[in-house]
Amino acid sequence: MARARTERTLRGRVAVVGIGETDYCRHGASPDPEFKLALKAILAACNDAGLDPRDIDGFSSYSDDRSEASRLAAALGTRRLRTATMQWGGGGGGCCAAVANAAAAIVAGLADCVVVFRALAQGQYGRFGQTVGIDTISGEKAYLMPYGVLAPPQRFAMQVRRYMHEHGVRQEALRAIALASYHHAQANPRAVMHGKPLDPDKYDASRWIVEPFHLYDCCMENDGAAAIVLVPEERAREFRHKPAYVLGAAVGSGYRTGAIPHNSPLYASASFETLAPDLYRMAGVGPSDVGVVQSYENFTGGVVMALAEHGFFKPEEANDFLTLENLVAPSGRLPLNTSGGNLAECYMHGFELVLEAVRQVRGVSTNQVRRNDVAMVIGGPMVTPASNLLLGSDATL
């Protein structure tokens, strides 16, 4: 196995064998404390795999998740803790990075059974969409908040506006992304927006949050938790379900993307210009091999940018490509956000997207696509570090 020793890759080395989530609730509507939500999701993922939770030997999360690894290990009675990884910054941009970090720990031999999770109760700890309790501010926000550029919608709208300006992207392209998420949520009983369909007229009539974002261009604010279990490839078939293998992942951003305030050289970008080639190179696939995409919607405009940067269309083709028909399961050109995603399933900070990609590879989504051997997740457009992930069936190995 000289090749295995020399090739540094995650491809085919690690598999997702369990997924679990809590009920997804509107912010403030969960009866459970945030830490309890984390425990419930982790136990559900272990149960899904058919795995003793005491065998977990590592935890990985992102965005300063409050459910800290040692407390989890103590609560669960895990026999020993061997990796505890927090992905720096980037908000939901860490949702794939947390998987990559866990996978890397397994490939490196640091751990054998790692849980990746996100628990978030915005009702208990404060909504992302409201700024409260800040009297004085310094750093990046000092250049923004006094001008009313406070919450994420205001922080990202100018980036999307610039992209629309540079590439002639119309509002209808953003609308198609919202419509696709809501369409898929209607078949997904877990979805917070299940039973609340969206149509073009309702979108057009909805209030502006900040131009160019209507209400339905913006993610929800929710309470819940979601988790997956990762094991080495050689153990993947010991568990209950069809494994979903990590084919590749990439983390980070390009040259000076983090230059504040709004001083990134490549401003009109979702931060994937360097990550997308890295992801495809590791996975050994290209855009045409990808059957289904879960792309983090903080705001629909970021999805337009992220999909273009992953090579599914050129920015100038966005208006033609991004139609509801093209984006829906089972057989649109590129089925997108097939659980309803951050807009309509649950804003589980993007981690619900990772679970949905696993379901697609298993073949058990409520919006199952036909081409399900290669499933992509794109985390956190327009942030840094961002991240992405490709999962595949054993047919892809």
């Binding site: 006094p146 009313g148 550029v149 709208a157 100018m158 900040v210 230059a259």
Partner: protein
């Protein structure tokens, strides 16, 4: 109205900008108080830099110098905000934020509000000039840099 003469563009009560504990941006905020727009320019390689950092990103010389520049620029992007994300903005109505690119300072960008009618048509590429908006009664006092069409 948010644009009435003598008033600040947005109501009071929003977070007050202050320099970091390490003082990195202190020259910027102190400059605004004196009607001066200060950005960094490396004394070693002349690279412009904003926001500030302790290091020039091009040549890695420490402590890039602060240089006063004329507050003129061009609208690089914009947004009209409707939803109040802070209690100070409830009942306020829409307002405009712009991202202004400053060509004569290496293309650094600043965020501010576009003064005037919040419902005005905004065009990317429009020339704007800076207006120093003093919040002298605030504790601590501070100054914002706003923009108006030129």
């Amino acid at each position: 109205m948010s644009n009435r003469a003598g008033a600040t563009y947005l109501p009071s009560g929003l977070p007050i900008p202050v320099a970091e504990p390490d003082g990195l941006s202190a020259p910027y905020w102190a400059g605004l108080r004196q009607n001066r727009l200060m950005v960094q320019r490396c004394g070693h390689c002349n690279t412009w830099q904003f926001g500030p950092e302790w290091l020039c990103h091009r040549c890695h010389a420490f402590d890039p110098e602060w240089t006063e520049i004329e507050p003129r620029g061009r609208i690089f992007s914009w947004e009209r905000v409707w939803h109040p994300s802070h209690k100070a903005l409830r009942e306020h109505g829409p307002y405009l934020a712009v991202l202004v690119e400053i060509a004569h300072a290496g293309g650094v960008r600043l965020v501010g509000n576009l003064l005037g009618d919040p419902m005005q048509a905004v065009t990317i590429g429009t020339d704007v000039e800076g207006v120093f908006e003093h919040h002298s009664d605030s504790n601590p006092p501070y100054t914002l840099l706003q923009w108006r069409s030129r």
